[in-house]
């Protein structure tokens, strides 16, 4: 892999997006590329939107992507995939965990959460490819609901021409030893799901 790859990880505070993007950046480095990542922490942690950019390439300047250049939009929450779709490069790929987290604007009744089918249709209209994963169910199946982000990384890894071992190694380094096996399984389940779609 020699070309530039741009990733945008999005979701809601508390979903483990920063760890997932850390891992993705580390994988880039382990593949012998330059890698950078960037995010904004702070207010957003309190249930707000979280975005994290990861870029791989022979050389990388800006740690953030430019709108319209994201090769992989990795959304940990359905609504967030829609919110950020405009960052995708035409023909780019969306990996979306279909979990829904109700925003306060919806729970207080000022807005409605659009139906899943409509969101997915809008994504498919724009992306070259949309891969959906039920992260929560697969993580549970793997043995811990805390491994949702590992499932998503598994799915992402299947779409890139990269060896699974590099990802696994980077993931295992970041999880507590007692969850290592569950994370290996979560990664495998995510990878399988993406291969099938």
């Amino acid at each position: 892999m020699t070309q530039q790859k741009n990733f945008l990880f999005v979701g809601v505070g508390g979903q483990g997006i920063l760890t997932a993007s850390d891992i993705a950046a580390q994988v880039g480095l382990d593949l012998g590329l330059e890698a950078k990542k960037s995010e904004v922490h702070g207010f957003a942690q309190r249930g707000g939107v979280v975005e994290s950019h990861v870029r791989w390439g022979p050389t990388v300047g800006s740690p953030t992507c430019e709108k319209g250049t994201v090769d992989f939009l990795v959304a940990f929450e359905l609504l967030e995939a829609a919110r950020w779709i405009e960052w995708l490069r035409p023909g780019g790929t969306v990996v979306v965990n279909t979990q829904k987290i109700t925003p306060m604007s919806v729970s207080v009744g000022n807005a409605v959460y659009p139906p899943e089918a409509e969101i997915l249709a809008a994504l498919k209209e724009r992306a070259g490819r949309v891969v959906t994963v039920d992260g929560l169910a697969l993580a549970e199946q793997a043995g811990t609901v805390r491994a949702v982000n590992t499932v998503v990384l598994g799915a992402l890894s299947a779409l890139l021409d990269t060896p699974a071992e590099v990802w696994e190694k980077a993931i295992i380094r970041r999880v507590p030893p007692k969850y290592a096996d569950a994370n290996r399984e979560a990664f495998r389940l995510g990878r399988e799901t993406a291969k099938e779609t």
Partner: protein
Amino acid sequence: MKRLLSGNEAIALGAWEAGVQYASAYPGTPSTEVLESLAQYAGVKAEWAANEKVALDAAAGAAFGGARALAAMKHVGVNVAADSLMSLSYTGVNGGLVLVSADDPGAFSSQNEQDNRNYARFGKFPCLDPADSEEARQFTRLAFDISEMFQCPVMVRSTTRLSHSKSPVEVEMPEGPRERKPLPPFERHSDKYVIIPAIARRRHPEIEQRLLEIAEWAETAPVNRIEWGDRSLGIITCGMAYQYVREVFKGFSILKLGMTHPLPKRMIHDFAGQVEKLVIVEELDPIIEEQVRAWGIEVVAGKEFFPLYGELTLARVREGALKAGLPVAPMPDQVEPLSEVTIPARPPALCPGCPHRAFFYNLRRHRKKVVVSGDIGCYSMGVLPPFETMDMLISMGASIGMAHGLKQAGAQEKVVATIGDSTFFHAGLSPLANAVYNKSNIVVAVLDNRITAMTGGQQHPGTGITLQGEEGKQIDIGPVARAMGVEHIWEVDAWDVKAVDDALKAAFAVEEGPSVVVVKGACVFTPYYQRRPTVAVDLDTCTACGNCFRVGCPAILKSDQTHPKTGKPKATIDPLLCTGCTVCLQVCPVDAIYETGGEEA
């Protein structure tokens, strides 16, 4: 070995490599991780200070004593420390003194977008602007050398983007842990460190001379460098803007300034002379541009194309370049904007179980007769729906002073200042003394959640735990207020809705002097927070009155069931989010919410 480090981690590494002995900071996004990271290195005394001025003063004292010292803060923190900073430039130092200022272009988590390179110009000391984590490490090391070489404080200026981006850094691990050594006997130089008027007058011309010498040094120092390319266009840039420039203006010549004050005049003249057109791209203020134009050098594109406000990005730099008619690649193609679905906003909210919730729920009910002077912390969210009870907020600690002034000027409403515990120790003590002294009839509500929550959970004097994990004295806010002469003080449980309201009402009834209500309850992210069984809604009892929605808890959702008469939605509670704080249960008028008694959330 190459490791991915954030800008803040790299600054800490650089400081450690430079042999820093003492470091102090007050937390503030995006600077916080500098000290959190430094605190983990052996041989460094690293502390949270009560505020930024204390942090800088402490670092100054250490530097006077010969230690290499560092103070870190967010951009607005430098305002708090500025009184000392301006005169430290006059006193000079003994051991190297480095001030890390983390600016926030884009105001992601701040009240303004001030460009702290202005402080370097204002205070006449050098400013280094790294462009990635490797430079953050190297420049911080260099900053200590420059500080000692030229006897001045040195600013390392980061931005949110640098502080919170990770890029590869060459990390050589130390041979062994470093020991903390005592300082040598104090060398007295009262003619230097005691900056009385006579000395200040003598020092000022020396400071001006020093600046010229630093500028001369900067002409050849490797912090500033030229990357020659196509000379039909030359771009001067610094900091993170360099990263956007090298992508957008690929192939053209670049003068990358690592030191943005003072500027290398000859180097800039030479560069400008060797390129056909000169462009300047810098984030926020035209610090470089104004100087370059003042030297009579022609600039074809500067601030008129690369705006004075907001964070620069690849897109904004490209857009500016295209508008200026410069030969760069066009904006990338984009997918069709989303029009068929409307995306609800996801505003931040107080967490489920937050100790600030019952207070704002109550305050909201007194809304008509009170003016609320707010402060900075998680409780600033009191300004958002469903509370919408905050009428002013400017800077840390200002709540009490503003409330005082408003009341003293003759406000007819009750005036309430709301302030967090960390903010109280940061800048709330003096204005409280002032209110007692001048006898203003205000209510000061201290929201004591036992942590500095907004910035991610740092300890402070009220918690008694230090940055490096030692336990000590916890300073209790109620007794502090009493010792200052406040006569009416209530301390209440943050989750007892009625007790909070009773205290507020009693405080409103006080007719003379200030009163203090300390609302006590730990933030859900602290180890002291106690989760309880979750609560649930009995849908048969729920009348869809909507009262529980007014506590603004993310765990309370609209259910699919509606009330047959009003058509309004009944409530339901997400058991994964609920922490069982019972605030919603207490405000339900028909007792439809009950404790499940089941497993812990």
